[in-house]
């Protein structure tokens, strides 16, 4: 029963689209405020100084692309795999910062200095999203997708 539900194509569609929306939402503020986001990346004290700005420019764009791909149903598996990779990285970074007692703005959804700081609830939220991403990567759902509308529905038999 549960197995059936998890594998259901509508559930798969909802997971995919929800994850896509979250990633797009998370990317927008960072893309519009690259300088602020770079400072937050620097605060985590995990990357060498030369890589911080490049990382701060590429990561939000990758989030945005993954979000769009998941919603459109194009390149679902690679996008979901990137989502898994990014979430594992976020969980690692937040855990490290928490274990060192570093109390910084997480830079998750907003670059504002009044945004939330790191905490355990943030880790739980990331882990929840990681489950969604693993689901999306595993089932590679294409129900209602651009690739389905435009792509070949069934392989054309060779003659």
């Amino acid at each position: 029963m549960i197995k059936k539900l998890i594998g259901n194509k509508i559930v798969g569609l909802l997971v995919r689209v929800a994850l896509g929306l979250i990633f797009i939402y998370a990317s927008l503020d960072k893309i519009s405020h690259p300088g602020e986001f770079a400072k937050i990346v620097n605060n985590y004290q995990l990357l060498p100084a030369v890589l911080i700005n490049i990382f701060a420019l590429i990561l939000p764009m990758l989030e945005l692309l993954c979000g769009i791909a998941l919603i459109l149903g194009v390149l679902v598996r690679p996008a979901a795999a990137w989502a898994v990779a990014m979430l594992v990285m976020f969980i690692g970074a937040v855990s490290l910062a928490l274990s060192q007692g570093i109390n910084i703005n997480c830079g998750c959804f907003s670059t504002s200095t009044h945004a939330r700081t790191l905490g355990l609830n943030l880790l739980l939220q990331d882990i929840g999203m990681l489950l969604l991403a693993v689901h999306a990567a595993y089932f590679d759902n294409r129900y209602v997708s651009v690739s389905r509308v435009f792509g070949p529905r069934t392989p054309v038999p060779a003659r």
Binding site: I31, S32, H33, P34, G35, A38, N42, N43, Q45, A49, V50, I52, N53, I54, A56, L57, I58, L59, P60, M61, L62, L64, L65, C66, A69, L75, R77, P78, A79, A81, W82, A97, Q100, G101, I102, N103, I104, H114
Partner: protein, 169 residues
Amino acid sequence: MKKLIISMALMVVLAAALGLAGNALNSEGIPLVGNYPKIEYGADSVIIPPSAEEGDPPFITLKEAYGLFHDPGTIFLDARESEEYDLGHIRGALNLPFDWFDDHWPDVEPLLAKDADLVIYCSGAECELSLYEGRHLRELGYGKIHIFFGGWSEWQSRGFPTTMPQDES
């Protein structure tokens, strides 16, 4: 699997191209290599004010202050005005504004053991209240005084534990 890796690589290349192009067009764009002063966990350059004199209480580095922070016997004293303290301070610090010392002293004195490690700070390098307060407390007979002259600005810049107004509301 190979196809997956190729697709993932293409996505990151596309993200890099869009990210860098977008940055070039953005009026708030940032340089590709930013200027980040090396922030090390163990910053060990001590900041000493020009007005320091022979015999002043010892000045400590951020690293030493952070070490003392984890020692439960240490008390941090914030020498700034209460308004500044309320806008954010080192977590657990007591407010003892040097300019209003006598007003606050009756509240703070019972909390300080004469042989406790006291770390005194104010806003940072442009502020000498911590030095004056350290001298004054030494005259009052406190033995283990440390002046953390990097102060609030250095502490906060590393993201070390703080109490901010929104934490208390």
